[in-house]
Subunit: 209 residues, 2 copies
């Protein structure tokens, strides 16, 4: 299975060389994110792609000063909806009607989702949205690695700081993860030749048969 080779190839790159990634390869990563499954298909997140050197520098300052934030080619910021709202849910179904035509069953499902989400606390809805972003985040990591692009899955940053730099609050978004994409700087990355550590399968899997 090609996926397994891809996963074995990748590692959490700690130093990048500043080289630019071709646009079509970035587009392929974004398309994988777009196609990622999410709960009820709501896709409750956005991805902000940062290449502006000044903005990268500001984000680095709130991201434990990690050099990859600046030395990557494209910095992907995954930001989840801060809440599921009526207008967001309705907008999704309007898009569906546009693509599939009106369907009463789907419209009932819309009403069910409105009932399910709009009465819940925003914090609970945000946590749920964040989880969906993580599905796409994982698939983006695969999409980069399949193209033999390096990437660094990152949670080690100050979300409020990133939200402020990118004005995410006013867009109803909260940053959840960063994914710098680019090319490894082999000479300066102590991680490059370190063997991947994973638990033996006996510790991760159990069977009920």
């Amino acid at each position: 299975m090609e996926l397994l080779n891809t996963l074995r190839w990748r590692y959490a790159t700690k130093a990048m060389n500043g080289q630019l990634v071709e646009q079509d390869k970035i587009e392929a990563i974004l398309e994988a994110i777009r196609l990622a499954p999410t709960s009820s298909g709501l896709q409750p997140f956005e991805v902000i792609i940062v290449t502006d050197p000044e903005v990268k520098k500001k984000i680095r300052a709130v991201a434990a000063n990690q050099s990859v934030v600046e030395d990557c080619s494209h910095l992907l910021v995954f930001a989840a909806w801060d809440n599921y709202t009526e207008s967001r849910i309705n907008a999704y179904f309007e898009e569906m009607v546009k693509q599939r035509g009106f369907d009463e069953r789907m419209d009932n499902y819309r009403k069910f989702l409105l009932g399910n989400y709009t009465g819940r606390p925003a914090g609970l809805n945000y946590e749920h949205a964040a989880r969906q972003a993580y599905i796409a985040f994982g698939i983006a990591i695969v999409a980069a690695a399949e193209q033999r692009l390096d990437a660094t899955p990152m949670e080690g940053f100050d979300p409020a700081g990133v939200d402020e730099i990118l004005n995410l609050k006013e867009r109803g978004l909260k940053s959840v993860t960063l994914l710098p994409v680019g090319f490894r700087d082999e000479g300066n990355d102590w991680m490059v030749n370190v063997p991947k550590v994973r638990k033996p399968k006996e510790q991760l899997f159990s069977f009920v048969k």
Copy 2:
């Protein structure tokens, strides 16, 4: 990119035919889960693979009676750690020392993680662990689809019910998602020929350049 074809091929299968998936294909999915990246490499989740028909039936009863839970070949239950504890963090580093040898930098990182996690509320740690499980969940969906196996990403179930059926509480785990894997029952699945709906990229992506 093969991943994009894989993602276009898959859909949230709503009816399966009960046919058994070959063991090596299941093993490949589990290996993809094992290789999935997680925060600090802690892999804070387990996956329980259910093939026992009686147990599947019980889980179906707490999963909105969805037939795929019973008619799949293998039911994968993703369960996150209910908390990050000292013994869990130390066990991870013991595994690392076994695989890589002792490294002072890593031991300092272990101490940093103990300081970071063990003082936080269990609920916060669980939410973090659940997000890591979602990375692996997304990659498992890709792993199934790459082998042209059908799968149904599911959140629509009662987690407390599943936890009780599988005795997860006493193992310090909480179920977060289900992934029935098997073969579609084309004649009975209304979703099989429905076009995939995704937001146009303008709604998901923005650029800071």
